[in-house]
Symmetry: C2
Subunit: 358 residues, 2 copies
């Protein structure tokens, strides 16, 4: 494996504010700060996965200013100056642009990987091999590189990437041109995508040269890049940041760029989108029960349940099956596994009726 001549940076995007992990996740504590499926917060696992590829000194995290405290607690080893606190959420184009400007300020010749804070990807060595190959591909070609997940089911909740021509493998990893990006499909179309073998899930994981992404932003999203440069230049940062367009980096740049390449990820990946997805990331015990968070579990004839609870707490189950049971702070959720996704509707109602629990 060739050493990278340019400095490699990592950018972790931690702006998520999902409600699907209520009551463990709250307004002030989104999913990425929770120890879902493991002993450490998802964002700490994400940082740990980069160990050996990018050191903490060159890892930036972009997050909401209101989560600064949670972020500091979750990543105590990260230098404070590597935390970019957004005054409000303006989607990923703004986050990527800010991180790129900050990295250019620090280094005149750099490459970077960009990845979400709240996914589970295993094994870490294989991810690092993919990311390293992607960085090398980006460094050598100047192209924007995206990592696509080899689909395992006809998911309708993700965007897809259609594979184009195969290019020369990089460091033993397959590389393809991206033919096009496709929005979340209907079920039937998703089944066709899966069957064709020519589509990957778009997981929001990228690699590029810093000068490449800044040039692409200047071409396709000038108002984002110029607005941000002006905001960083002085004046009321929060007000100027708030005035930026709210758009994803995919829509603003990737879908408009001519030369985008992709490296397939065909090992375990999950965006851990809802409580029921813990079935994929947590090993079951002999009775099929899965335990997450630090809580203890005690059961009598209970099976195939998903249990998450605060450290120091106990969840006891008698005779129940296929439930999601969550004990977090002052709230408890008990739902059937098949309907656990409806926690979003419940949280919307709570926000109106009992906002102190949201």
């Amino acid at each position: 494996m060739a050493a990278l001549s340019a400095s490699a940076f990592a950018v972790i995007l931690a702006g998520g504010s999902g409600t699907r992990f209520w009551p463990a996740s709250r307004r002030s504590l989104p999913k990425q700060y929770l120890p879902i499926g493991g002993p450490r917060p998802l964002i700490a696992e994400t940082l740990a996965r980069l160990e050996g590829l990018v050191p903490p000194e060159r890892t930036l995290v972009v997050s909401a200013a209101e989560q600064a405290e949670a972020l500091g607690r979750a990543l105590p080893s990260l230098p404070r100056e590597n935390l970019l606190h957004e005054p409000c959420a303006r989607n990923t184009a703004a986050s990527v642009a800010w991180a790129a400007l900050e990295i250019r300020r620090r280094s005149s010749d750099s490459v970077q990987v960009v990845l979400p804070a709240d996914h589970v990807i295993r094994p870490a060595e294989r991810l690092r091999a993919s990311l390293r190959a992607g960085l090398e591909e980006a460094a050598a070609s100047g192209a924007l590189v995206t990592f696509g997940i080899r689909p395992t089911r006809p998911a309708t909740g993700f965007g897809y990437i259609e594979l184009g021509a195969a290019l020369a493998p990089r460091d033993g990893q397959a590389v393809h041109r991206v033919l096009r990006f496709v929005e979340k499909p209907e079920r039937e179309r998703a089944q066709q995508f899966l069957a064709s073998g020519r589509f990957l899930w778009n997981a929001g994981i990228f690699a590029w040269r810093t000068d490449s992404i800044l040039a692409a932003l200047a071409r396709h999203a000038p108002s984002t890049l110029e607005g941000l440069s002006a905001a960083l230049g002085g004046g009321d940062f929060a007000a100027r940041f708030e005035a930026l367009p709210s758009v994803s980096i995919d829509v603003a740049v990737l879908e408009r760029e001519g030369d985008v390449r992709t490296l397939p990820i065909d090992y375990f990946w999950s965006d851990v989108g809802a409580w029921n997805s813990l079935a994929d990331v947590v090993e079951p015990d002999a009775a099929g029960n899965r335990r997450s968070g630090g809580a203890e579990l005690s059961v009598l004839d209970a099976s195939n349940n998903i249990v998450h609870g605060d450290a120091g707490a106990l969840v006891a189950l008698i005779g129940v099956e296929n439930l999601v049971v969550v004990r977090a702070g002052d709230a408890v959720l008990v739902a059937t596994r098949e309907r656990a996704d409806e926690v979003r509707a419940l949280v919307e109602r709570l926000a109106r009726e009992k906002p102190r629990f949201v």
Copy 2:
């Protein structure tokens, strides 16, 4: 209604230490101190039911010394000198004997009602009418009086009282001789008892003259009465109390006494024996969910559940039916309603494996 010539006292027996309301009930906080099915602890409801019959100054509570703090919190209006703290549990004969000796010390001519702290009986006016008639019957006849619950199902968990000859009604209330006491029956026998109309449940509610119960204790349980008198006379009270026989007042005295009378209670009574019994004492909402304790409840398509939680907490249910869900302190219990009684087995295991939660 004739005024009672003797002073009327009440004795509330609060020695229970059940585990069937775990995790709300713990070693240091048994069921009688919990706000089960209402806003106040069961023992506070029991005291309130006596209002107008016996004033707090003449109401004694016998409880475990280790629950002194919980008792003080639950009954702040009761004079401290009316709380008799047992150094260990020696069943109800010892409790009744201690209360009788204390009442005799305070009054030379008194009657008393004795009742458990942790039952639900409604309406309170009807209970007071029964108790008053029982006190009058006891005062006039010198007999020991027990109140029997008219059975509504062939319960196998209670002892029964067989009705003997009808006596003259007292204050409009039916009075019978007790033919015999019967231990908890098998199912078939319980069905015969129910069908016959001649049996009542023995609920541990009594009325008697203080001199009558002391004389009966002297006749049938001299070691209890003499041991207790000696313990109260000086020396190591705890050691002497511990040396008393552990026996119920029913077995030690009532079953051996010749003239025992009974007044039937044919209005609502429940011993609130387990979580599922909240179905009897708490009104359901439109979806059939029952809420107990101070917790808030928020549901999406959930029905016929029993929910108990600490004040200030929230329990949220999605798509679940016929569950018992309890959030109390550091623990959560989720059980099917039909198996919620098995919490006793669970608590036994926890006592061995995770004692800090018991």
